[in-house]
Amino acid sequence: MSPVDAAPSPGEGWDFSDDSTLIRLLARNAESFPDRAAMREKSKGIWQEITWSELLDIVLSFAAGLESLGFEPGDTMLVVGDNRPRLYAGMLSAGALKGYAMPAFADATLDEINHFVHEAGARFALAEDQEQVDKMLELRAQGAAIEHIVYDDPRGLATYPQPGLISWDTVQIRGAERLVQDPSLREKLIRRAEPDGPAVFVHSSGSTGKPKGIVLTHRNFLAGVRNAYRGGAFGFDETILAYLPIAWVGDFAVTLGAGMALRFTINVPERQETVLHDLRETAPTFYLAAPRSWDNLLTTIQVRMEDSSRLKKAVYQFFMSSSLAAERRKLDGKQPSLGQKLLAPLGELLVCGPIKDQFGLSRLRGAFTGGEAIGEDTFIFYRALGIKLRQLYGQTESSAYNAIQGPDEVRLHTVGRPLPGVDVRISDAGEILIRSGSVFGGYFKQEEATREALDGEWLHSGDAGYLEPDGHLVVLGRLSDVVHTARGERYIPNYIENRLKFSPYIKDAAVLGRDRDSLAAIVCIDKEAVGLWAELRGISYMSYADLSQKPQVADLVAEAVRHVNGTLPAGQQIRRFVCLHKEFDADDGEITRTRKIRRNVVESRYAPIIDAIYDNRPTVLMKAQVSYETGEVGVIERTLAVQEA
């Protein structure tokens, strides 16, 4: 914990070879640092510590106990629950026995789990508590082959008569007895698993069809961790908070992959609801979260600031706006102004430092966002706060680590350079291909899908993207969303639309260009934001339609479009756009209820606009259909100006 013993000691550290297993690395940690904390779990009011040697004992005795229950190499153990030290230990035990640990989301429905269980013929289940045990029992009643259900928390389970139910404690004690009787068993269990044996059995996200089973080996994870270490994602002895769902590959790659190899101190929150509180208490040095979590945290900070006193709000606004402006200049490649530089230390003392402290972000060395694109405002806010938030690009198939941004060379639209040890190539179809030691060997029992995904050593990521001249990787989106222009230029409408929508003034956008020469956009301004903007500048307007056609508003939107264009390669820039005189509305069928654009509806209904754009006409008379809440349908007629970006 203190900086003195946090210094990595050469000779005791991992040698970065991927020719090892997680259990062997755990054993090495237990030998070198037997009394240092490996895991902490908030329980009964304090952080209960498990040292490295204790963790090794737990893992080995559970493995021995599991084996005595009949767990054989190739067997699958379903692991279901929230983050718990014992579930993590159980996954390591299954890996040590050459079996598959298959984590599932704690809130997964029966159907989802059923699919997992049948796919692998799981005979074992490790359940967190009564709730999960009930699920397992129901699965069994539906015909699943689960024979043994091991549970961590015995609360409420004492009177369950079902056969095959056994508590973690019993299994561990049974295993510990075996270890005492046969002293050579310890070493055998540590040695048994092979580097190419399974470490974990996870599933692809399933955003395109049914989740596919993915077995990642010890070697995959260790190669991934080594690449990420060399790329500067983390160092030895980081402190982390293990709060991500255990079924997500990112959690395994950080908590158990990097955690064992680089001997992290793994803090396990008390409950999902207490994560924010536990975050402050543990103050991790490495933190990976989805963009949505960063957004939520930002909202929490803003709402709590709103609730604060006037003085505090004024101080906050003063320093934050200076810091945000400085950060925007940096993002544009400029230096912060002298005034901003002078204010920064005071702002850190008065505003940024306290806020980071309130949320336990003050010791962060590695702050990462991954999974999808992050909004510019969110991104800049955290950078302005002094948290070097970086983007990470990874996939389940490649053990989570492909590319990261460097701490000081951040651009919003790239995900950084590929990690050392990761080769990235762009296929002719524009797909990102990845070659690395961390790439998996194939989908579980799905040879066709494997053939599609693996081309020799190269993994087809399924993502479209390109490499910038300086080596930074840009991920555009799923390849299946790619559209081609008449000139053969590839682009993903969704990617550009999302970036347009990062502007507060743009509520919706539809990017056009399929089989056309250049790209164009139909933009719906945000009524609240643009309305306020207009009021503050004394621009009078009568209605949304009126506001949308004001020349000043057109300039405002053009600026936002140009800003997005600046991050796009030449062929994908938006040349012309039209501010629509109405918002996209689910009642009119232009968007779905979840606000996803229905491209065919937009393209057919606004065909006159699209024609006008590509015919280079300056204006267009548009009749738009409007559905009122009474069910009547009206028509709005309006002359719209076509703007040059």
């Binding site: 952080w47 402050r280 600031m305 006193s309 430092g353 306290p354 402290d357």
Partner: protein, 357 residues
Amino acid sequence: MLYRKAGIFHTDYAADRALFPIPADRWTIGLLLLIAATAPLYMNSLYLSSYLLPWLVWTAATLGLNLILGWAGQFHLGYAAVMGIGAYAAVHAVRTGIPWEIAIVLAGFTAAVIGIGFAFAALRVKGLYLALSTLALQFVMDWTISHVQAISGGTQATLQAPDIRLLGIPITSDAGLYYIALVWCLLVTSFMLNLKRTALGRALVAVREKDYAAAVIGVNSFYFKMVAFATSSFIGGVTGAILIGTFYHAVTPEQFSVDVSIQALAMVIVGGLGSIIGSYFGAAFILLMPGVMNSFISWLANLLGLSLSLETLAHLPQALYGALIIVFLLVEPLGLGKIYNNIRDYLLVWPFGYVKK
């Protein structure tokens, strides 16, 4: 603003119950202790022996009285008498040849025994009646001390206290006396700090909140009231002895008259019932503010060129000082300690408005 709480976690219950879990608090206390320990090096002897030293001794007394008033919730209008018992006991003990170290402890026990004996009778009543019966202690003690020649040496007599000797070494320097006061004050402070987290402390608080409710949950309220009186009297007795040994060097009945009792009471109330930091503030306020006010008024009169009559100069500071007490108690009825805590809380949640649960 200045406090940082991220990364504070506890892996055992002892650490979880630590007095000062926040590093900023520990730094502040360390700094204050350093300032206090090195005070004789940079402070001139007038300030050291006539401001700092009495402040520390009176803080110890305030803490002792706060034990009864703030923790156990029992009135006590005769605290000066308790201190007087200690003072006379110590002086007589030393004069008969008992070393100071033992005499001081003896002073505490004498005060505790008389305190208990008295409390045994007085605690049969509650509230205002208790207040009156403790006032009776004051008058009985005043009378006894001044009228029993063996104690006071006569009605108008002043009893000279021999110089303090510790382990045979006479301590006469200002710095030496100051350190005695400092050590005693710190001892009492750490006792009171730890009292909060003992069974005794919790029992006292239960008795304070409602004595028969405490009895219902199995806390013998009479017993704990007695313990509170005894402990508080012990602290008072020792403090009285130290006050004589380090500050007055002689003892007369007037030093422990009813006025002094009221003053001690004011220190507790202005500082804040049940507040330790408040006891420091309260003692400083009551002890030092009249002097500060005096100099302030003279300075102001000089500045404005006003010539105030001697009478006005004597009374105006008193009036202002009284008004200040009222203002402070209006702003925060729980005293200066609570004001300090409010400021601390403000900084703890900075820049947010409140703590979100």
